[in-house]
């Protein structure tokens, strides 16, 4: 399989991905993964209809996403996965998706979340999901754009949310 990038981004497919990430990675197949989104026919229609970059677009449950990425079909593709929340990223890994890096993209403010940066707000459950990802030896980055630093970001999360990483 050739998953070149996994991004956790609650905006799903949007301007930064279509413009900056696509020109950086030359995506063949964009997979949006989140169980709730995959069951929302209106959102599936929208996501599939409007992506203008010529890449194939799929909207899959997390389980189906992992299954697809392990199938022979996926081998010839350059796949970019957009998981909606850190919890989805964690589930991808727990279901057996093998990937060295998970990237934390936009996470808007939601009730109960706290600020990590101007574009990333995390809930306790999100921080716990990131901790599990980290404990599996996977590097976590926090890159909105392709030229942002690829450094390991976990220490910043640990430092910002000391009570939630316990």
């Amino acid at each position: 399989m050739t998953v070149s990038h996994v991004r956790m981004d609650n905006r799903l497919i949007h301007g930064q991905i279509l413009v900056s990430w696509n020109s950086h990675l030359k995506i063949d197949h964009l997979i949006v993964t989140n169980d709730k989104v995959a069951q929302d026919p209106m959102q599936v229609t929208l996501l599939k209809a409007v992506t203008p970059i010529g890449a194939k677009v799929s909207v899959l449950s997390v389980a189906d996403c992992v299954k697809y990425c392990q199938s022979p079909e996926s081998e010839k593709e350059n796949i970019f996965i957009i998981a909606k929340f850190p919890e989805d990223g964690c589930e991808l890994v727990e279901r057996g998706l093998s990937i060295p890096v998970l990237n934390l993209g936009n996470q808007a403010f939601v009730r109960g979340s706290m600020k990590l940066s101007n574009t990333v707000f995390l809930t306790e459950s999100g921080v716990k999901a990131l901790k599990k990802i980290h404990e599996k030896g996977i590097k976590i980055t926090c890159r909105m754009m392709p030229n942002d630093s690829e450094n390991e970001f976990w220490p910043n999360i640990e430092k910002t949310f000391p009570d939630w990483v316990k």
Partner: protein, 138 residues
């Protein structure tokens, strides 16, 4: 009168209304909404819905967004699909489009105004005419 809602990334929409009113004078039933860096798409849908509800006098709302496939577009499209209000969406808003449309929105149908916006946006992009270029070749 058909209402105009401009939805963009950041402060572009607000700046466009400001620029437009320098040309047309003050306008009623126009509103700008900007996606904030920290904002969830679902929250933007709510803000667009509330703005459209507040603006609409029954003649409908034309939503002009900045970029195809991006969050302001996605959220407006979602509202288009969900809403029972007369709403239309056009993307690639530019100043020629906005100026022409705010001046043409009385006594026309929403469908016709949408077509006009689509054309005005494209026709607003021009190169310098030959009379100005004179000898200077491209």
């Amino acid at each position: 009168m058909i209402s105009i809602l401009v939805v963009s990334h950041g402060a572009l929409a607000e700046g466009m209304l400001d620029a437009m009113q320098m040309i047309t004078g003050p306008q009623e039933k126009v509103l700008a909404l900007g996606l904030k860096e920290t904002e969830a798409p679902e929250d933007l849908i709510d803000r667009i819905r509330e703005a459209a509800d507040a603006l609409d006098d029954g003649d409908g709302v034309l939503i002009m967004v900045d970029l195809y496939g991006a969050t302001p577009f996605n959220s407006s499209s979602r509202l288009f699909m969900e809403s029972s209000h007369p709403i239309e969406v056009v993307t690639g808003v530019n100043l020629p489009m906005l100026v022409e449309i705010v001046m043409s929105r009385e006594g026309v149908s929403l469908a016709d105004l949408l077509q006009q916006a689509y054309q005005a946006g494209q026709e607003g992009i021009k190169l310098l005419p030959d009379t100005i270029r004179k000898g200077k070749t491209l």
